[in-house]
């Protein structure tokens, strides 16, 4: 062991210290931070006669603790590669992608090592040629959702700066974790600047002081950790439990949070949650146990909605007995839940951020999210102890301290795709020595491609959709219609992939494998850290290093933009200069340096870098924030992190209290709103300013377009899931698979890669030397199919087949199976796109269809499948 030096780093799973062996250029250990007396005191909460303080040690996700095994891994790309059979000036053999010719490098079969010069020249020359020969639109850049943590390296920052300066089209992300809230709940209450989910400010204190019961509905905060929050919120739920707050869980899976604190668990049949919610409201109407004042003063469409609930308009009263049959639950238990809910000050935890994740991502996601809003409309959301509260956000940290999240654009200064107002840009760029790089092509007036339809854009002649990316600038932005190819723009000629794999995360993902293997896609570049998933379909691979091998700057869990408020998940606001720990391994380079080298070849080097390296940009970023109020650049450079002090005088502004009390908005959300989001600066963003059970925006949309979308009715209601038990498909595929966000990896980031995480027993299982992904099957379903715990099984439907390892369990109802989505491995046993995958991409089984005809979000959490023992 050489000399060991401690560094600070930021990761998707938490801020950490890293001990580094500087002599051997290796990471020794990655571990949580113990705050010292030099760091400011933590917040305290006094509630119900008790004093609560967070621990002075940070927590982190397992994929952060195990990061060393990802940095030092044989799956790392250590030098530029070219696919054997690909000749940029001659025969490209596109159809061989994914099944390359024999030979190549031992760790990268089918690929031969090339120099950086050859790789960069090939890509740069092709960019110039395509722009000359085809015009704008010919080159598409597509990043993965969760690349390396750091506000410099994140896709909104370095990639966007390059993409915008060069004029490359963006493969836009859909609001993939918000879908039902965005396409559905936005029409109940606006909140488009948070993609339909409610604000969470200061709700932790409110909960501890006032709440008597929490209903976790499709929420597992111990597994999903509020996205980036490590396990910071674990203690808070323990405090709540100790205070006697009742804990009810509604989830198809007896999830990890339930395992710790549940008092009661309901597992409605997949896709029927909205029916259960309707029955709860029915019972409140029957018992007259709802908030009359609130319903009369803060809600519209009540008459039509209650007529529906009571069955006066459709002849079907939404009684607990009706719901019990639909949901496969006990009617008396639904009735009891309704009564308990009304009798107590109840908070609804409906996802990772309040909303987000879980049931909103399935075929019935919009109805579910809208019904969650309806439930709270009847109980007076915003009054003390009554709210939608994730139990993750809402800690009393100093939210006035300005340090932007990754969504604010970083060094691109382009918040176009992140929902931030252009705020950082004014502080970051003086307009003389340093310039932002806004988009001139990726605007609503330019061209873009939705990543859910990239295969269709390549393989089909024409594609249409509505909504541009995270279309939250207004409620109406999601209505705008787009098409591919856009008028006056070229078809895609080069696909420039930036990390990660979508085969693990989008719907019906065999489509992506097929799209690669066609001459309609003449060139694929993949800039990535690891040889995995979609990297193995590239023609040219540009090896990037991890954030442990370069400089970056960030705040823990602070994504900003549509995820604003996520900085209140960790118990302390910890801002790190992500100190370079080791030199880049092999010939890999920082993403920034790769783009800089390409920009140089494109004559844009000066505009891109302004002569700065990554550390120079960190310094410029430092001065654009409030950090100089706490420390000097020199100190920050040395120490590597700063904890933002708590402001004892900060005014408490619990989420939506202003709405309940009919005041002007006073929460930090106000700085995220455009003034025009509210009429006369009053009420919600809806046309009425109230919660709308009958939506004015949808009504206006259908009236002005003449569209009829039965999948997204104007009134909040329960619809039979189009991927549920009322469909024809159900007869052939009788198992309902729920595929939520994974616990032990973050999307595809940190799965596979030969890291430690694949050894986690509940993540992958080794069978004959191969690490299989897990599917959890109810014991009766398993028995009926002769499947035992640990057996290999084939899960399949008409969309594809995946070979998985069975875990037989009682944590699911009969007829339901569970498998986390987002495998980083894609390992077809035959032709890619047309043979069983044993890597574990369960999204091969999920629908490619949009939530509804006009709601162009994905619906991947629920899939109807069949399972059989794999004898192959």
């Amino acid at each position: 062991m050489g000399k060991i030096v401690r560094k600070a780093q930021g990761t998707t799973g938490g801020s950490v210290f890293v001990d580094v062996d500087v002599d051997e250029n290796k990471i020794v250990r990655v571990y949580p931070m113990d705050l010292t007396d030099e760091d400011p005191p933590s917040w305290e909460i006094n509630a119900r006669g008790r004093n609560f303080k967070p621990p002075r040690r940070t927590t982190c996700n397992v994929f952060t603790t195990g990061y060393k095994s990802l940095v030092h891994s044989d799956k790392r790309l250590l030098y530029p590669l070219k696919r054997i059979g690909f000749d940029v000036n001659g025969e490209r053999n596109e159809e061989e992608r994914g099944t390359p010719r024999p030979g190549g490098e031992p760790n990268y079969p089918g690929y031969e090592r090339i120099s950086w010069e050859e790789a960069l020249d090939t890509v740069a020359n092709e960019i110039v040629r395509l722009k000359r020969e085809y015009g704008p639109g010919a080159i598409i850049a597509e990043p993965s959702s969760h690349h390396l943590w750091g506000h410099l390296g994140y896709r909104h920052s370095t990639l966007f700066r390059f993409m915008n300066l060069v004029g490359i089209t963006y493969g836009e992300h859909n609001p993939d974790s918000w879908e039902g809230w965005f396409w559905g709940a936005v029409h109940s209450w606006g909140m488009s600047n948070k993609l339909g989910i409610p604000e969470q400010w200061d709700l932790l204190e409110d909960c501890l002081e006032n709440c008597e019961m929490i209903v976790f509905w499709a929420a597992d905060p111990e597994a999903t950790t509020g996205s980036y929050g490590g396990f910071e919120t674990h203690y808070r739920r323990r405090w709540m439990k100790e205070l006697g707050i009742k804990m009810v869980f509604i989830d198809p899976y007896y999830n990890h949070t339930a395992g710790l604190i549940s008092d009661k668990w309901f597992a409605p049949q997949l896709g029927t949650d909205a029916a259960m919610a309707a029955a709860i409201i029915y019972q409140w109407l029957e018992d007259d146990t709802y908030d009359h004042w609130f319903v009369e003063n803060r809600v519209t469409g009540v008459e039509e909605f209650t007529a529906y609930i009571k069955g006066e308009s459709d002849g079907v009263p939404k009684t607990p007995e009706w719901a019990a049959e639909e949901c496969k639950l006990e009617a008396c238990e639904i009735r009891k839940l309704a009564r308990e809910w009304a009798a107590h000050k109840t908070m609804l935890s409906a996802g990772g951020y309040g909303g987000m994740g879980g049931a909103c991502r399935g075929a019935s996601g919009m109805e579910w999210a809208r019904m969650m809003v309806a439930l709270m409309a009847f109980q007076g959301i915003g009054k003390p102890g009554v709210n939608i509260f994730s139990t993750t956000q809402g800690a009393p940290v100093d939210t006035n301290f300005y340090f932007p999240g990754y969504g604010e654009g970083g060094i691109s200064g382009d918040p176009e795709n992140s929902g931030m107002l252009f705020r950082l840009g004014y502080k970051m760029f003086d307009g003389v020595t340093s310039m932002p790089a806004g988009s001139n092509i990726n605007t609503a007036a330019g061209v873009f491609i939705p990543r859910l339809r990239i295969p269709e854009c390549i393989l089909d002649d024409k594609v249409e959709w509505r909504g541009k990316g995270f279309a939250g600038a207004s409620i109406e932005q999601q209505f705008t219609k787009y098409k591919y190819p856009a008028d006056g723009y070229a078809r895609m000629q080069m696909y420039y992939k930036y990390g990660g794999s979508m085969i693990g995360t989008m719907g019906a993902t065999n489509r992506y494998a097929r799209m690669y293997r066609t001459k309609r896609l003449p060139m694929v570049v993949n800039q990535a850290v690891w040889f995995e998933g979609e990297t193995q379909f590239a023609d040219i691979i540009l090896p990037a290093c991890t954030n442990f091998e370069r400089w970056d700057i960030s705040e823990w869990s602070n994504c900003g933009g549509y995820g604003s408020g996520a900085e209140t998940i960790p118990s302390h606001r910890i801002i790190t200069l992500q100190q370079k720990c080791i030199e880049p391994l092999g010939e890999s380079k920082p993403d920034y340096e790769i783009f800089r080298a390409l920009a140089d070849r494109l004559g844009l080097g000066g505009a891109f870098s302004e002569g700065k390296d990554d550390l120079d940009w960190c310094k410029q970023y430092f001065y654009a924030t409030d950090l100089p109020k706490l420390t000097t650049w020199e100190e920050f450079l040395e120490r590597g992190y700063v904890v933002v002090p708590v402001d004892p005088d900060r005014k408490r502004t619990p989420g939506l209290r202003w709405f309940y009390e009919g005041r002007e908005i006073d929460t930090p959300s106000a700085t995220r709103y455009r003034p025009s989001d509210q009429i006369a600066f009053k009420g919600l963003q809806t046309q009425s300013g109230k919660i709308e059970l009958v939506s004015s925006s949808l009504k206006r949309f259908y009236e002005t377009t003449g569209e009829v979308d039965e999948g997204r009715p104007v009134m909040t209601q329960y619809l039979h899931s189009w991927e549920g038990h009322h469909t024809e498909r159900f007869k052939t595929y009788p198992i309902a698979l729920v595929a939520p966000h994974p616990k032990h990896s973050f999307h595809t980031h940190s799965d596979g890669k030969d890291g430690f995480m694949i050894d986690i027993k509940d993540h992958r299982v080794e069978v004959d030397g191969f690490y299989y992904w897990i599917i959890r099957i109810n014991s009766k379903d398993a028995e009926a199919r002769g499947i035992k715990d640990g057996d290999l099984v084939k899960a399949f439907n008409d969309r594809g087949e995946v070979i998985l390892c069975a875990q037989v369990t009682e944590r699911l109802a009969q007829g339901t199976a569970h498998s986390y989505m987002a495998s980083a491995e894609y390992k077809p046993i035959g032709t890619p796109g047309d043979s069983p995958d044993r890597g574990g991409c369960v999204n091969i089984l999920s629908p490619k269809e949009y939530l509804s005809k006009t709601a162009c979000g994905m619906a991947t959490t629920h899939s109807l499948i069949q399972i059989e023992k794999w004898e192959g």
Binding site: Y31, V62, S69, R335, R811
Partner: protein, 271 residues
């Protein structure tokens, strides 16, 4: 006598985050801490081995995880079998001589907990050393406790330095137990709420006149279990049971009787 070093594991606080398992691998993979321990291979050994147990049947279930490192037994079965290789430090930590343990596959078989692993790459038997190299200040670390306890975000694993007398008091007060105490009833690793992993329950739900029957007196015959009132949804659960024959009584009337080998959900019962 100096202070002894303990690991207290509260089974009820573990939800299988795996930080203990992975931090242990992080500490020893690519890092040789000889003479304490050679490095651990990338895959294979589980010095911290998390076991999972489900109890009950849908929808009344319980799930529980038991992180299981070397139990640092006192006396240690491995020391009895291999006295030349195994030593117990004054602080209680059981160590394997890294030279003498080479080629000694027999060590793997003598541990009743399956906590000794064979490193094929280095051809040596290895196990958890409670991060003795860190505790002794010989690891260039800024922390001073085993990595698993430092990384545990839920206080399921806590590291304790105490003299034996003080710790004995804690054992009594908190009901700490040794896992599989038949193998070894003393050592440095102790469990809290172990019944969640080693005992069984009988659970069910009461319904009366079509409604959940809450607040009803339920008693269990066959074990010394206190009377319960059914919960909000009519649910009851008698936990901490051994396999055996039991009967459930509601207001003195038997609603179920039978023999259980493991936890049982008797379902909803109309009363």
């Amino acid at each position: 006598m100096g202070k002894k070093k303990y690991l207290v594991i509260d089974v009820s606080r573990c939800h299988d985050c795996n930080n203990c398992f992975v931090s242990c691998k992080d500490e020893f993979f690519m890092n040789s801490w000889l003479p304490y321990s050679d490095e651990q291979p990338r895959h294979g050994p589980r010095w911290m081995n998390i076991e999972r147990l489900e109890r009950g049947q849908y929808p009344r279930v319980d799930v529980c995880y038991l992180p299981k490192p070397c139990q640092h037994c006192s006396p240690a079965p491995c020391a009895k079998a291999f006295p030349d290789i195994v030593t117990t430090r004054e602080d209680g930590i059981v160590m394997l001589d890294t030279e003498k343990a080479k080629g000694q596959r027999g060590l793997v078989d003598v541990c009743p907990y399956g906590a000794i692993w064979y490193n094929e790459e280095k051809d040596v038997a290895q196990k958890c050393i409670l991060c003795a190299h860190i505790l002794d200040g010989n690891a260039g670390a800024s922390i001073c406790m085993p990595r698993c306890a430092h990384c545990c975000p839920t206080e399921a694993l806590t590291y304790v330095e105490a003299d034996e007398e003080a710790f004995a008091k804690r054992i009594a007060e908190e009901g700490l137990e040794r896992y599989k105490s038949d193998f070894s009833d003393n050592g440095q690793v102790w469990y809290k709420n172990l019944y969640r992993f080693t005992k069984h329950f009988i659970t069910g739900g009461l319904i009366k006149d079509g409604e959940c029957a809450d607040g009803v007196k339920v008693t269990l015959k066959g074990a010394d279990a206190p009377e319960q009132l059914s919960g909000d949804y009519g649910d009851f659960r008698f936990d901490g049971l051994d396999p055996g024959t039991y009967a459930v009584l509601v207001d003195g009337k038997e609603i179920w009787s039978g023999t259980i080998a493991e936890s049982l959900n008797i379902g909803n019962i109309n009363i």
